[in-house]
Amino acid sequence: MRALNKSIVGISFFSTLFLLAGCSGPQVRYGDAKAVETVTVDYGSTDLQSIAEAMVRSLLQTKVISGSKYAPTITVADVKNKTTEYIDTRVITDKIRTQLLKSGQVRFAVNINEMQSQVDELKRQNQSGLYKSNTISKTGNMEGAKYRLEGSISSIVKQTKDVKDVYYVFNLNLIDNETGLLEWADEKEIRKSATR
């Protein structure tokens, strides 16, 4: 009887211990930022990474960049989101721009949406009257971009009772600003499907 009591006490003690350990709350872990993400069929981090990488590698191999002795100057224009989801397209172009800059083969000029901070800084240095004139960056000497990057992302969503299939296509064009000619264009297609 005593042994049974002891064992009951022992078992209950350890079981509560295990239960408590299990009920300690949600666990936080760091995951791999580069891992394949398959949470839902919507636009995800793997799509963003694979689009940016494919566009950058293809752009670096084009004759406009690899064939020229000097690094061409590019500016990034808008990437239109033609899907029905919310996609932050500026993140895609920022990623492309970062990877291209790291390769050292192109130079970037500020975008239209970064002009306000550029103009504010020029105004502060040139027109406030507080700066020594041989240490300032003078107004009127900005360098213009020879090319611009423009693109769009669109999707086709098909859904039945059991299957949801989403197809994304991302288009990117490199346009010469002066002549208006398209110097490079590439697209990346992604298909994701979810079954119940």
């Binding site: 580069k34 891992a35 394949v36 398959t38 793997t46 990474q49 694979s50 990488e53 950058v56 590698r57 293809s58 670096l60 191999q61 084009t62 004759k63 690899s66 064939g67 990877q99 790291k102 390769s103 050292g104 083969q105």
Partner: protein, 117 residues
Amino acid sequence: MKKLIPLFIALLLSACNSNPSVSEMTIRMGNTGNIEIVDMRSIVRNGLLTAQVTVKNDSNSNLVSYRFKWLGKNEIAIFDDEAWKPITIAKGQTGTIIGIAPSPDATDFRVELNQYK
């Protein structure tokens, strides 16, 4: 004269095959034993190292992810880890993976294969 001939032939033969083997160039993680690399070749196209790997799926599971690791001279990596890219190959199908280096610094590469659920 006689001794020079075998030396000459040996040099020729060694010059023909100085690349590492496919298994040396592949790093496998997870359960990827059913993926077989059929062909691997690389070339410098427009100043960038371009690698082409042909993979064949021998079994049912067809989800595998890959990425390339780009090395400069002296086998030191020149870029951050790439993102894992999933590819879907049906049983018996061969697929081609093409990787382009991120900058002209890359002179060597490795292929990494991983499973993903």
